[in-house]
Amino acid sequence: MVPLSHYLALSVILFVLGAAGFIFRRNIITVFMCIELMLNAVNLAFMAFSRFLGNLDGQIFVFIVIVVAAAEAAVGLAIIIALHSNRESLNIEDVDAMKM
């Protein structure tokens, strides 16, 4: 049987990849996918803990996260489309209207 530490290690790797992509990539869609990646890294950790601790709490959390992620995807993609139609660009550095 694969030990818990393996799952957690994979989860950490995925999360760090997601975080790094989130910070360093410039394409909004990529950034968006990196967020999904981080969420799923956390999901993986939840599932692993749930399985190894033998209770269902983690799984319930995973459901919640999936639902939130789905909602976020819907809203986020809509925003990205609106953004693109307004600015003709998907570069995240062009979106700085909040700058003082």
Partner: protein
């Protein structure tokens, strides 16, 4: 009817009048304002008479009647009730105040007719009457203080009635600030009283003081007495706080008559008389009262000699007469002081109202050098002014002032704390009084007319609205003295005996401290000297101002220095200006304004706060880059730090 209801009915109508006129007066016609404005004082007078009657019939009298309506302040040991106090002293005070006030209100209808601010005037006057009645009927010091400050406020408002005139608004401020100094003494004195006796209720305090063995707590009581007298000196314009009263003449003349002659300024005398038992246990404080009163009487009398402004002369005369009242109280004959308070209220308000009538006829002119020979045109005014002058000068029999002043002078000689010094200076002042009053009378009404042709043309007697109150007051000015027929004429001094229940204990306590003072002069001789003083004063005045009218000028030339000092009122105003006002202005300007206000408050606190916020913001706004990846980095960094903290804290 019950006395407690009558007392409320006496105190409250002027307040209702003030509220009605104050809130709605602008929309009322003059007739309505007059009706409300005079109706309140009229009702007060009626109920004052009724309560006097009921009280005199009641079985409990002469014991004081008190009734507590509700508790006003309850804090720790301090308990102040809205409670009214009625005894023979209150009876006299309320009757005098309401009668004079009602007559002056009636007079004001005529006087203020064309002055503008008609409803405002009556609002303030009614409010004043309410406060004055609160003052004299209060059953404890805090409530008395309410009335005390209330009359001060109304005095301020009414002195500055013509507030567009700079001198009037300045005079109002001066009166307010100078009397405030005295009030500080009053408050501290009352606090000291509470600290010593744990109560501020008249009955309780007086009872506790009375039960003290003579000499105990004397130092505290002396301090209390002196502090209360400081308050009295401020309100009643005694040395050294008298400077506001002459300037108070900027107000309309009925105000001068009611507030600055007949009622408010006598509040100090009332305070001393009411606290007589406290002063009786602090004879040295009482002696100070007597000496200050006597000196003030003399001092103000000398200033009045050279004044050419009719109202100002009357103002100094008022200060002088108030000095007499304090001298009476200070010598231990409180009843004589109150007696003079009552007679003075009648004849001095009459003098002022008659002066107002003259002023009315003269289109506002008050300089007596520009008058003369007015008796032909102003017959009623002249007759009443003459009666009042006779009353204040102390002409025997027909002048009310004669009886009361004579009693004070006799008391100053043989009273518990009397002394020849008080008596002789007082008698000399009586001569001065007679002189300056007849001087004023002659300059105004007799001799050659110096009236300017244009004013001469308008010269007219005032309407009946103004002359009827004058006549009533003249009537009182003649008869008011008869209530206390002097002993020297085999009288019984009924007024004094009437007030015996109020002052008896104080007088007795004083008699115990200082043995009966028997002078060389009998009552007949004392009276003889005071009549002689009046006769000399009147004679000289008539001689100088009717017969040989060039003598005063020659004297003024010969004693030019003395004359200049008197005309400039001993340069006291200038001295106070130099000693207090100028330093205050300099400190305010150079330090409080430039350093504290502009430097510390404006620069450091107000602008400093704004600048500091802006600077911090300038630094912090760099974080707000608008760059989403950098926000993400911050979030991540924060999360990492947070986890590190949690691990560090919980291992």
């Amino acid at each position: 009817m019950n006395l407690e209801i009558l007392l409320l009915l006496m105190v409250l109508p002027p307040l209702a009048g003030a509220a009605l006129n104050g809130i709605l007066g602008r929309r009322f016609s003059q007739a309505t304002v007059s009706l409300i404005g005079c109706g309140g004082p009229g009702l007060s007078m009626v109920f004052a008479l009724l309560s006097a009657w009921i009280y005199s019939k009641s079985e409990s009298q002469p014991a004081p009647f008190t009734y507590s309506y509700f508790t006003w302040i309850q804090a720790g040991q301090l308990r102040a009730e809205y409670a009214l106090y009625y005894d023979r002293l209150t009876l006299i005070m309320t009757l005098t105040v309401t009668v004079v006030a009602f007559l002056i209100h009636l007079y004001s209808r005529g006087y203020m007719e064309h002055e503008g601010g008609y409803y405002r005037f009556f609002t303030y006057m009614n409010l004043f009457l309410f406060m004055m009645l609160t003052l004299v009927t209060a059953a404890n010091y805090p409530l008395m203080f309410v009335g005390w400050e209330g009359v001060g406020l109304c005095s301020y408002l009414l002195i500055g009635f013509y507030f567009r005139k700079k001198s009037a608004s300045d005079a109002g401020k001066k009166a307010f600030i100078v009397t405030r100094m005295g009030d500080a003494g009053f408050t501290v004195g009352v606090a000291l009283l509470f600290w010593t006796f744990h109560s501020l209720d008249f009955q309780t305090v007086f009872q506790r003081v009375k039960d003290l063995p003579q000499g105990q707590f004397e130092s505290v009581l002396t301090a209390v007495g002196l502090l209360l007298f400081l308050g009295a000196a401020g309100k009643s314009a005694q040395l050294p706080l008298y400077v506001w009263l002459p300037d108070a003449m900027e107000g309309p003349t009925p105000v001068s008559a009611l507030i600055h002659a007949a009622t408010m300024v006598t509040a100090g005398v009332y305070l001393v008389a009411r606290s007589s038992i406290i002063f009786a246990h602090a004879p040295s404080a009482l002696a100070v009262v007597g000496v200050v009163g006597c000196l003030t009487a003399f001092y103000a009398g000398t200033i009045a000699l050279t004044q050419n402004d009719l109202k100002r002369m009357l103002a100094y005369s008022t200060i002088s007469q108030l000095g007499y009242m304090f001298m009476g109280c200070g010598a231990g004959v409180f009843a004589a002081g109150i007696f003079h308070l009552m007679t003075h209220a009648f004849f001095k308000s009459l003098l002022f109202l008659a002066a107002g009538s003259v002023m009315h006829a003269m289109s506002g002119e008050l300089d007596m050098r520009k008058m003369g020979g007015l008796w032909r045109k102003l017959k009623t005014t002249h007759a009443t002014f003459l009666i009042a002058t006779i009353a204040i000068s102390g002409v025997p029999l027909v002048g009310a002032g004669f009886f009361s002043k004579d009693e004070i002078l006799a008391g100053a000689y043989e009273g518990p704390l009397g002394s020849p010094f008080l008596y002789w200076l007082g008698t000399f002042t009586a001569a001065l009084t007679a002189f300056y009053m007849f001087r004023g009378l002659c300059m105004t009404f007799y001799g050659k007319s110096h009236v300017e042709p244009e004013t001469e043309h308008h010269l007219h007697e005032s309407s009946y609205k103004m002359t009827i109150p004058l006549m009533v007051l003249a009537f009182f000015s003649v008869i008011a003295g008869w209530v206390s027929w002097p002993k020297a004429w085999h009288g019984s001094e009924a007024f004094d005996r009437y007030l015996d229940p109020v002052f008896g204990q104080a007088t007795e306590a004083l008699r115990n401290v200082s043995p009966v003072h028997v002078g060389d002069l009998g009552p007949g001789a004392l009276m003889g000297f005071s009549i002689l003083a009046a006769a000399i004063g009147i004679g000289v005045a008539l001689w100088w101002y009717l017969k040989s009218t060039d003598i005063p000028e020659q004297l003024a030339e010969r004693y030019a220095d003395l004359y200049r000092i008197l005309v400039h009122k001993y340069y006291v105003d200038e001295f106070y200006n130099w000693l207090i006002v100028r330093p205050l202005c300099i400190v305010s300007d150079k330090f409080l304004w430039r350093v504290v206000d502009e430097g510390a408050i404006d620069k450091v606190m107000v602008n400093g706060t704004a600048e500091g916020t802006a600077n911090v913001g300038n630094v912090l706004r760099r974080i707000q880059s608008g760059n989403i990846p950098s926000y993400a980095t911050w979030v991540l960094l924060g999360a990492v730090l947070w986890f590190l903290y949690i691990f560090a804290a919980h291992g």
